[in-house]
């Protein structure tokens, strides 16, 4: 019997169209726009000026707080502008625009393909190196990795969990990384274990990626302490708390962090970035992005420099289909529709999905029939229908006890609702309003 998490969950059609497409390197664009805020926390402080010449991997913005991350140049060339540029949501943010000239890398980066398995650094040195490389959670939450690895005093990490679940339909970036870069990922995991001072790491992979499970199990045999755990397919298994429940059977209490139950969760992509940062001195300036869609000519997995306009990714995969209704930044469950296709790829962009008009159509919502399907699928054990109504009535003070702040925004409730009520939209509002109330009390 395969493991999975206990509460809720849904089974959307997985549509992994680009499953078999090996990672291709996207040709360099003419210019890139790199936002200073690509992570959760304080935006980084930009340190370059217009006219500066940068090389690939040069630091262009430094972390401006504890929860913040460095940002590096992803291309070589001249800084064209440091100004406000629109992000994928259409909101103007501080960004650096670099006009591409050649492809000259910073000399400190080791560009060879040799696998370096030995790491003799101390945990402190590893964490410092990860912080310098600007690594954030690559699964989409973009939480700065060095913060997650700095275990607060009084708490102890018991094991590391690596998220290879990729439960979002359509996305295959992590799947391809596991198949093509397994040794690098495994060394990355060993480094993460060392930084945390733990001896055991679990890699959770859903059962729909049989080839990845077999490949990693075989490779992991030569790395003691790493176990591959096949999991039953269920969305949202890639959620941090769901994954901990699925693999070790511990439930993170409301308001607590995974570290409170002794777990630290990192993504496959993060493990690869950690390997490259620590062993190869390569900061985080490129990532694997799945470009997919039912009507897209050739769905692909691309290795893309941060700041590349999303439109050029789609161009490379055969152009934006005429039937496109929405272009989604991320997967179909949690991703958000793009305001305009020129928005840049950021550290958290795991996929770009072209939905056709049929798929992207929103059904008209009808009154709630109290079927409680949303309650049974909510992986956090919330009551979405209730939060929806109270949020509409603006009863935010009373809402606090119903814990909208626990919502992980997985969208299972909206997905399953037979009345097509946009539950998540309202819950998201409730979440931010209740957060405001909680913060104002402090």
């Amino acid at each position: 019997m395969l493991k999975t998490f206990k509460i809720g969950g849904v089974h959307p059609c997985d549509n992994k169209l680009s499953r078999g497409a090996s990672i291709e390197i996207l040709p360099l664009p003419a210019k890139v726009v790199i936002p200073a805020a690509q992570h959760i926390g304080a935006p980084a402080t930009i340190t370059v000026q217009k006219g500066d010449r940068v090389k690939v991997g040069d630091i262009i913005a430094t972390a401006s707080g504890f929860v913040s991350a460095n940002v590096h140049a992803s291309v070589s060339g001249v800084v064209q502008a440091v100004d406000m540029q629109k992000d994928a949501m259409g909101i103007a943010r501080q960004s650096v625009t670099i006009a591409v000239e050649g492809d000259e890398w910073n000399e400190t980066i080791d560009r060879s393909n040799d696998l370096i398995t030995e790491c003799n650094l101390s945990p402190k040195e590893i964490i410092d190196k990860i912080a310098a490389a600007g690594i954030v959670g690559m699964g989409g939450a973009t939480f700065p990795t060095q913060v997650k690895l700095s275990v607060p005093p009084g708490k102890k990490a018991e094991f590391l969990i690596i998220n290879g679940v990729e439960c979002e339909p359509y996305l295959t970036a992590d799947h391809r990384v596991m198949l093509e870069k397994a040794p690098q990922v495994l060394v990355g995991i060993r480094i993460l274990c060392k930084a945390l001072g733990v001896n055991h790491a679990f890699i959770g992979i859903e059962n729909n990626k049989q080839d990845a499970i077999e490949h990693l199990t075989k490779e992991a045999a030569s790395y003691p302490g790493i176990t591959v755990v096949p999991l039953k397919v269920k969305y949202p298994q890639g959620g941090e708390k769901q994954l901990i429940d699925a693999i070790v059977g511990r439930q993170v209490p409301s308001g607590a962090l995974p570290i409170d139950v002794g777990a630290v969760v990192q993504n496959i992509g993060t493990a690869l970035a950690v390997y490259e940062a620590v062993q190869k001195n390569k900061p985080l300036f490129e990532r694997v992005v799945t470009v997919t869609g039912k009507d897209l000519a050739t769905p692909k997995n691309l290795l893309v420099r941060i700041g590349t306009p999303i439109s050029s990714l789609l161009e490379y995969c055969g152009g934006i289909p005429d039937s496109t209704g929405k272009i989604i930044n991320g997967g179909p469950m949690m991703g958000r529709s793009l305001c305009y296709p020129e928005a840049p790829v950021t550290k958290g962009t795991s996929g770009v999905l072209c939905m056709n008009e049929q798929e992207s159509l929103r059904e008209t919502d009808t009154p709630c029939i109290r079927c409680a399907k949303c309650v049974s699928v909510c992986p956090m054990g919330l009551e979405p229908y209730l939060i929806n109504v109270m949020s509409r009535k603006k009863m935010f003070a009373e809402l606090e006890e119903h814990k909208p702040t626990d919502c992980i925004e997985c969208g299972s409730c909206s997905f399953t609702c037979p009345a097509h009520i946009p539950l998540l939209d309202r819950i998201r509002v409730a979440k931010s309003e209740v957060m405001k109330i909680i913060r104002s009390r402090k």
Binding site: A92, L361, P422, R428
Partner: protein
């Protein structure tokens, strides 16, 4: 048979009388004294229960009014000065004078002025849309037009005009309770004083982008050029983050800024139409205005008043 009926009725009556006696004593024991003036004051309040005063409903406000030592921070925007004065004289306290206010929508990006850049098909609610993205035009500051203000209004005073996609305030009905101000996630609606003869001059834009970007997004945006700041003889206009703001407390309604604004972002409301000037008239007008510029500002204002 009859006996059964009789006993039943008697028992029930006895129980009723007993319960009544117990309840009487309990009520005496736990009696809560409530100032009878609260009821009276509540009767004097408009009874809209809008929450514009900051209390949950009129009863809460009445309670606060009776208990307060002075009425400085208590004001019913719906009833206005008349209600407050009558309540104050009833309670024997001094009333605060507040100028009547009205809600003002600070966005004029109608469909023809502010081209749509994308299509939103989500929940028809501004706060939901604002939590998702910047908006369906290139302006990330302006009105989303989904009508949260309309829903929030208890007085049927604000409506989205389908032709422009923007809310319009019915000045007759607006009580300045501030419900729409709180409902708007983009903070477009502002309470401004009604002004003499309901006349107001205000910047109808909240876009803080740089001039070029703002102009590209919307043809009637404030581009932060600062012309109005230089023109204003009273120093009522401030420019911050590429956005002009007219301080209603300082503004003397001279309307010079309105003519100066290159995008027409400054609006004048309820003024009589300006006389159509011929060439000669306008030059003489200009002379007059240059003459009066050196004058005392208050006199200047009086002059405009009498002219109308």
């Amino acid at each position: 048979m009859n006996e059964t009926l009789l006993f039943t009725i008697l028992t029930l009556c006895a129980l009723g009388v007993l319960a009544a006696i117990i309840l009487y004593f309990v009520a005496q024991k736990f009696k809560v004294y409530e100032d009878p003036r609260i009821d009276d004051v509540e009767g004097m309040l408009p009874g809209a229960n809008c929450g514009g005063c900051g209390f949950p409903g009129c009863r809460g406000m009445a309670d606060a009014l009776v208990k307060a030592d002075n009425l400085d921070n208590l004001y019913c925007p719906v009833g206005g000065s008349a209600t407050m004065n009558s309540i104050a004289s009833y309670l024997g306290k001094a009333a605060v004078e507040k100028e009547p206010q009205v809600a003002v929508v600070r966005c004029s990006g109608a469909c023809d002025k502010r081209p749509k850049t994308n299509h939103y098909d989500g929940t028809k609610s501004c706060v939901v849309a604002a939590s998702l993205y910047a908006g369906d035009t290139a302006c990330s500051w302006g009105c989303l037009g989904l009508g949260d203000c309309e829903l929030a209004c208890n007085f049927d005073a604000i409506h989205i005009n389908p032709a422009t996609g923007l809310p319009e305030v019915d000045e007759e009905k607006c009580t300045a309770c501030g419900a729409c101000v709180k409902a708007c996630p983009k903070m477009i609606i502002e309470l401004r004083k009604k002004g003499i003869k309901n006349r107001r001059v205000f910047v109808s834009c909240v876009n803080k982008d740089k001039g070029g970007i703002a102009r590209k997004a919307c043809s009637v945006a404030c581009i932060g050029c600062g012309k109005c700041v230089k023109t204003c003889p009273f120093g009522a206009i401030t420019l911050e983050n590429n956005l002009a703001y007219i301080d209603p407390a300082v503004c003397k309604l001279c309307r010079k800024c309105v003519a100066e604004c290159p995008t027409g972002a400054i609006h004048e409301v309820n003024f009589p139409p300006r006389p159509v000037k011929t060439e000669t008239e306008s030059t003489s007008e200009q002379k007059k205005s240059t003459l009066s510029e050196g004058n005392n500002p208050t006199r200047n204002e009086q002059k405009t008043e009498t002219q109308e």
